[in-house]
């Protein structure tokens, strides 16, 4: 900075001039320029306020990062297909009750040890342990035995047939960890392409490329996941050059980015909607719920909240679940305020209806959507007040205790199964936070669960979706647009149908 610039600044801000002399000590400078591209800083909106033990970690944000460190016997690829990981192959018995996994030869843990059948068994057992009630992976309560056949073969037997079993095996949750490790909470040792180096609370998580990875090696040597907690200063962080990549960006922020960034578009793989508590008297009435569906103008919501980006939805399934997704359900209730008024009048709410929408305040997208919904409902004589709550209050009063009237949130899938999206709407499901009770649905869901044939099962799950849509179980809105900002210095980002960031595929741009 020369003298002339200094003078200009002094003209801009008087007090600045007083401090220029002091700022001589500043040596931060421009960092990005001198760095080699074998280092990438990935912004994460939230720290992993969690154990780093993948079995115990519950938050999606934690699994998203740990995906790079841990693998199960199988793992998902970017198309949602399950590919072999620690296991190189598996076979399933005719009755679907016995799975035999053949372990890949010479898979190394990050601590240098080779993965053994014992490690696999202890990991699966840890996830299936029922001593604390439900096992860590609830579906693993189905496991009746885990046996070591030989050093490279593990046999798992099930009590009942489960078509989704391999999906559970492939989740980060069922990661293979060294047997007998005691400090997994703070020192994660996995088999993935990246090795955990260090963490600093609310600051960052550092990983480095694991050189002895069995598969295709990662391109970038060092990865820092940097916590960028304030959504409003995110853009400054990106444009300022502190962060090279950031996923889950709201559209409004993605639009502010400089030309140094490529903005990749995808969807967030969740079902955003106004979820209605069916125990709240007006919402027990199907007509009221339908009226709300008619009164909500999804086009406008998308326009306002995300500039038209995102996918409109009509039921509890998002498009990346290609197998189950039914796009036509989106048309079940097209915007029709007149019809909404009629339905409300029929249901006895001609003079209006008022309720409160509880929204978790840490999700600006949901708060924004709630605001637009509330405004749209005014037109049909419905008064919706918004009450923001912080996440834990939401978890406790809305999700656990179900003390609410309506809430706008996004529901995602923890693994690649239809069950992940649909089981919660069974009348007696633990996580049926909307208190949905529909015998027809329960029957359809149970039938689907019991069905052996894959195609028939898919149809039955789709039947469930149709019931949810037609019954207007909730006011389904959209699968939010997912914006990923990636510095032009890098390329190779891949969207997954799951909530993960696969850094191993990212490479410096010039290596293309």
């Amino acid at each position: 900075m020369n003298k002339a610039t200094r003078k200009k600044i002094a003209g801009l801000l008087v007090i600045t001039a007083l401090t220029t002399a002091l700022s001589g000590c500043n040596g931060a400078g421009d960092k990005t320029g001198e760095e080699n591209s074998s280092q990438i800083t990935v912004g994460i909106a939230q720290d992993l306020e969690d154990s780093l033990d993948p079995h115990k970690a519950e938050a999606a944000a934690t699994r998203e990062v740990l995906f790079n460190v841990f693998e199960g016997l199988y793992k998902p690829d970017c198309d949602g297909e399950l590919i072999p990981a620690v296991a190189e192959d598996y076979s399933c018995s005719e009755d679907g009750l016995t799975y035999t996994f053949t372990l890949r030869e010479d898979v190394k843990f990050h601590n240098g040890n080779t993965v053994t059948a014992e490690d696999v068994i202890s990991s699966i057992e840890a996830c299936a342990d029922t001593s604390g009630g439900t096992p860590l992976i609830p579906a693993f309560s189905n496991i009746t035995g885990i046996l070591k056949q030989d050093d490279r073969t593990v046999v798992i037997t099930l009590a009942e047939r489960d078509a989704d079993f391999l999906s559970y095996i492939a989740s980060v949750k069922a990661a293979i960890m060294p047997a007998g490790q005691t400090d997994a909470d703070t020192n994660p040792i996995g088999t993935g392409p990246y090795r955990y180096v260090s963490r600093s609370v609310q600051e960052n998580i550092v990983m480095e490329k694991f050189d002895e990875y069995w598969g295709e090696a990662a391109y970038i040597e060092n990865v820092t996941f940097k916590v960028c907690a304030d959504p409003d200063s995110l853009v400054m962080n990106l444009n300022g050059g502190a962060v090279d990549m950031m996923a889950h960006l709201p559209v409004s922020q993605a639009q502010q980015l400089s030309t140094d960034f490529a903005v990749l578009e995808g969807t967030m793989n969740l079902v955003q909607g106004m979820y209605l508590n069916h125990d709240f008297e007006p919402f027990a009435d199907e007509r009221v719920r339908q009226a709300l569906c008619y009164a909500v103008n999804k086009d406008e919501i998308l326009d306002i909240v995300s500039d038209g980006k995102g996918e409109q939805l009509g039921s509890s399934m998002f498009p990346n679940f290609r197998k189950y997704y039914l796009p036509e359900l989106n048309e079940t209730y097209s915007y029709d305020p007149e019809k909404a008024k009629e339905l409300l009048a029929d249901a006895g709410y001609a003079d209006g209806l008022s309720f409160t929408i509880t929204v978790p305040s840490n999700y600006p997208q949901h708060v924004d959507t709630a605001q637009v919904v509330a405004e749209q409902l005014k037109a049909v004589g419905v008064t919706a007040e918004i009450e923001q709550v912080e996440w834990n209050t939401w978890l406790s009063s809305v999700y656990s205790e179900r003390q609410y009237e309506a809430t706008v949130v996004g529901v995602d899938a923890s693994n690649l199964t239809a069950t992940a999206m649909l089981s919660r709407f069974c009348s007696d499901a633990d996580n049926n936070f909307i208190n949905y009770k529909n015998a027809e649905y329960d029957a359809a869901y149970e039938a689907a669960q019991l069905e052996i044939d894959d195609d028939a099962q898919t149809l039955l799950y789709q039947e469930c979706e149709i019931i949810l849509a037609e019954d207007a179980a909730n006011v389904y809105i959209q699968d939010l647009a997912e914006m990923v900002a990636l510095s032009n210095e890098f390329t190779g980002y891949e969207f997954y149908p799951l909530y993960v960031q696969d850094i191993s595929k990212i490479r410096p741009a010039e290596q293309q």
């Binding site: 200063s233 502010q256 406008e300 305040s361 708060v367």
Partner: protein, 265 residues
């Protein structure tokens, strides 16, 4: 008392203008401050929308008028409650001293270290959200700093001749505290109130971040500023307008307080 300095009048005119602007907002705004219009999203300044539109296509002028009112209510309420509590605590501790002083000042110390966010969460948990509860929790959080300022003044005043004279004139302790001494420390109080006002606006915005402040779609200057931060690069005017109203209001009050103090030596 009769003649105030020019500083006072400049401040009074500034504050008066902003207050008038907000007062009009109570009865009339050019548009419904909550009405959205997708086609007007982030529309710039025009004759139809003198301050442009926000990300929801809502008229910023209307929202500033409406939000200024709620900010004035919340921040004003907060400083009044905080100052009220602070004055009572500070007056008692400063004037009586002794055990009451020791105990109350320890509580003040404790409150100073107690995060206002946690306090606000407790209030919200017990009483629910809403402007009044924001005022309550922030008011409690603000009381300690007022108490400290006020305590010093009362400590100084308690030995002054006119206080002794008041006692001999049969005034009760209560009367001495609030009728005799209080008017004499107003200049200190006024500047403390102003600083408190500004902090209250901010704290309210910070609470809105956590969802325990003023609830949307109701506007407040603090939350408008926070929202506008996202668009700092492309739509800087979005934060200029609410920011300017806020700064002018506080500046106006500040100059008034300054003028009051220097108007009489």
């Amino acid at each position: 008392m009769k003649r105030q300095s020019t500083t006072f009048w400049i401040g009074a005119v500034l504050a008066g203008m902003v207050l008038l602007f907000l007062l009009v907002g109570c009865f009339w705004t050019p548009y419904d401050p909550e009405a959205m219009n997708a086609s007007m999203k982030l529309a710039g300044v025009s004759s139809a929308h003198p301050m442009g539109c926000d990300a929801f296509g809502r008229d910023v002028l209307s929202r500033v008028m409406d939000g200024g009112r709620s900010t004035l209510l919340v921040a004003g309420g907060t400083v009044l409650l905080g100052a009220g509590l602070g004055i009572v605590i500070g007056a008692i501790t400063g004037y009586f001293g002794g055990l009451a002083d020791t105990i109350l000042m320890r509580i003040v110390d404790a409150l100073l270290a107690f995060p206002s966010v946690l306090l606000a969460l407790v209030v919200v948990a017990l009483l629910g959200t809403g402007e009044m509860n924001v005022i309550l929790s922030l008011g409690i959080a603000f009381a300690p700093s007022f108490a400290r300022v006020v305590r010093g003044e009362f400590l100084r005043s308690r030995y002054l001749g006119y206080v002794q004279a008041a006692r001999l004139a049969g005034a009760s302790h209560f009367r001495i505290l609030f009728v005799h001494i209080l008017p004499n420390i107003r200049s200190v109080l006024i500047s403390a109130l102003l600083i408190g006002f500004n902090n209250a606006v901010l704290s309210e915005a910070a609470l809105s971040y956590l969802g325990i402040g003023v609830q949307p779609p109701q506007a407040s200057l603090g939350s408008m500023l926070a929202d506008a931060q996202t668009y700092l690069f492309t739509e800087p005017l979005l934060c200029i307008f609410p920011g300017a109203v806020l700064i002018l209001l506080v500046l106006g009050f500040g100059l008034m307080g300054d003028g009051l103090r220097t108007g009489r030596k």
